[in-house]
């Protein structure tokens, strides 16, 4: 064995492990414990077993939030991936082939740079930006135009059945660029000869997309779905800042993260909030396991 290995190993691991155990592992472990108590921060916590979880089952807000996660979980990945795939295909193989080399459409570089930019901005900042865009009177970006041409303003964030979709639109607005770049990287690794061979067999652009690009990109798509799914289970910053009353109107946009925050730091119901946290954890875990299970299939070697 090399001389003085253990002091070195311990010296290098001590600080990161300590920090990680104190601020990450210990809180996670305690969350399960606190969720079994009626702790409200003042007196000592009392053990109440699964009472918090039973109350969770009767809590309309909780189910509302879970339902919104369901909508987000389907809509966010589907819309984002569809748009991003279309754009990535255009930018990489949409143009004509020059000298056997597949080309993207004109201005591909510019579009990639512009589309990706929202990813660099903080979600909280974007939420404030879209508060302005969605304003319900003539000072809003969209309603300013609608009212100029004599239409009624659209109450994006105020109408309950429109509010969640207005928020999803913002999430898509931010995410598309990231996935365009991600899919572009995946498409770049597909050899050009495959496209050439398919074209020689008379495949159209649309067929190229569905029969060549899509199957060969399967792994990347799976990663994208998991990423967007995880984003769908968070959504705290966007809902907390953009929606009316943080999750309103009347809970029409609420998500679990917002309810956890509200129960813990507004109502001081620490036990109940932790039970919601545990529920969120198991939902996330179920989603990840299901996705990996359902999307598993023979990967194509090339």
């Amino acid at each position: 064995m090399r001389h003085g290995k253990y002091p070195f190993v311990i010296g290098f691991l001590f600080a990161p492990v300590t920090l990680y155990v104190v601020f990450v592992i210990a809180p996670y472990a305690q969350a399960f414990q606190i969720s079994m108590t009626n702790w409200r921060g003042l007196s000592a916590p009392q053990w109440v077993g699964f009472d918090n979880y039973r109350r969770l089952l009767d809590d309309g807000r909780f189910w509302q939030a879970v339902q919104h996660h369901g909508v987000l979980l389907l809509a966010l990945p589907l819309i984002t991936i569809a748009i991003a795939l279309f754009f990535a295909f255009l930018l990489n193989v949409g143009g004509r082939s020059v000298g056997g080399q597949r080309q993207g459409v004109r201005g591909a570089k510019f579009y990639r740079v512009v589309f990706f930019f929202p990813q660099v901005l903080a979600v909280a900042i974007i939420a404030v930006l879209f508060q302005m865009v969605y304003r319900p009177n003539e000072s809003g970006l969209i309603n300013g135009v609608l009212m100029k041409i004599g239409l009624d303003p659209v109450l994006f964030l105020i109408r309950p059945n429109l509010a969640l979709w207005s928020i999803i639109a913002v999430l898509v607005w931010q995410a598309v660029g990231f996935y365009v770049v991600l899919f572009s990287a995946g498409m770049a690794s597909i050899p050009g000869e495959i496209y050439e061979a398919a074209e020689m067999d008379g495949a159209s652009k649309v067929m190229l997309f569905f029969r060549v690009t899509l199957p060969l990109l399967w792994d990347t798509l799976q990663v994208a779905w998991v990423y967007l799914g995880i984003a769908a289970f968070d959504a705290f910053a966007i809902v907390a800042v953009l929606s009316v009353d943080s999750g309103g109107p009347d809970g029409a946009t609420t998500v679990l993260a917002v309810e956890i925050y509200r129960n813990a730091f507004v109502y001081s119901k620490y036990g109940y909030a932790s039970a919601m946290g545990v529920a969120l954890f198991f939902l996330t875990l179920t989603f990840a396991a299901l996705t990996l299970r359902l999307t598993k299939r023979e990967s194509v070697e090339y």
Binding site: V105, F115, V120, A124
Partner: protein
């Protein structure tokens, strides 16, 4: 295009040595390419407008006064009212929030990179009992939502006397950035050649010197990717500072500051001040992005690309 799409899927597999079909296809192909890239170009241009216009519109509104914002939201400002920015910077404290963010993220990213690379290096290249256990302890952190830990974390930080301090936020940022940093860098350190490390050891290099003077410089591309990933992630943090700094307004970071200004703008009817504050928050990101665009794109997507 329609004729092409309705072709039975089996035709992709038919050998191309049937003369009639390819001939017809060649003409259709040409037409289809033009239509496809025409529609495609249009879609791309529309999306570019959708991305750019809200941001540009914010910049313009930052120079208007409240009357103009309401009466003519789509026109250029009548005059450049720089005082909106002065008001946002000092009276709304955007300046302080901005500098707080710079301070917190500088410290936390430096700490994350230092501690993360140290742990990743040891875990990737040294054999000892418990190595795998510690590695999986870190990596399992990737699977947990932060919201599960939020309540206990608040009390851990409070009991350490770090609530409403930058130290507390920085330590928490580092701790929550370690799983991805270690996961990514450990994979990177494993790919570095053994020969260089062995040569260093023969020359009498200590383990510590070997790490800082040989291995770390070799890992530079990986370090840059992860550093960008962490800077952007920590800069965008909203929920953690909201919980950990709630009672110390002078210590707030930019995200929570801007969100707070947007609430107050409604009461004070200072919309131009809010637009100016937003501009101050967005403009530096455009500059940074313009300079490091390539590195940022590869840094952020590095986690997902195999």
């Amino acid at each position: 295009m329609a004729a092409q799409t309705t072709l039975p899927p089996a035709s992709a597999d038919t050998p191309p040595d049937r003369p009639a079909i390819p001939a017809r296809r060649a003409r259709g192909e040409h037409h289809e390419v033009r239509l496809f890239s025409g529609l495609g170009q249009l879609a791309l241009a529309v999306w570019a407008v959708i991305v750019i216009v809200p941001i540009l519109w914010t910049f313009l509104a930052a120079f208007k006064n409240t009357g103009e914002i309401f009466s003519s939201p789509w026109t250029l400002p009548a005059e450049l009212r720089w005082e909106n920015f002065g008001r946002a910077w000092t009276k709304a404290h955007v300046g302080r929030y901005f500098l707080n963010s710079v301070f917190v993220v500088s410290c936390s990213t430096f700490g994350t990179m230092l501690l993360g690379s140290m742990a990743a290096y040891v875990l990737a290249r040294y054999k000892f009992r418990g190595n795998r256990a510690i590695y999986y302890l870190f990596v399992s952190g990737l699977a947990f939502p932060v919201f599960l830990a939020l309540v206990p974390l608040f009390f851990v930080v409070r009991n350490l006397g770090l609530l409403d301090t930058h130290t507390g936020v920085i330590l928490v940022y580092i701790a929550y950035s370690l799983p991805f940093t270690i996961f990514f860098l450990a994979a990177f350190f494993r790919t570095l050649p053994n020969s260089v490390a062995e040569a260093g050891m023969i020359d009498g290099c200590s383990h510590t010197r070997l790490f800082f003077q040989v291995m770390l410089p070799m890992a530079k591309p990986g370090l840059i990717s992860v550093a960008i990933f962490n800077i952007i992630g920590q800069w965008a943090q909203y929920q953690l500072p909201l919980v950990l700094l709630s009672n110390a307004k002078d210590k707030w970071v930019l995200t929570q500051g801007i969100a707070d200004i947007s609430v107050n703008a409604g009461y004070e009817a200072d919309w131009s001040g809010l637009f100016a504050a937003l501009t101050i928050a967005i403009l530096p990101m455009i500059l940074v992005y313009a300079i490091f665009q390539r590195q940022i794109q590869s840094g952020l997507t590095s986690g997902a690309v195999k």
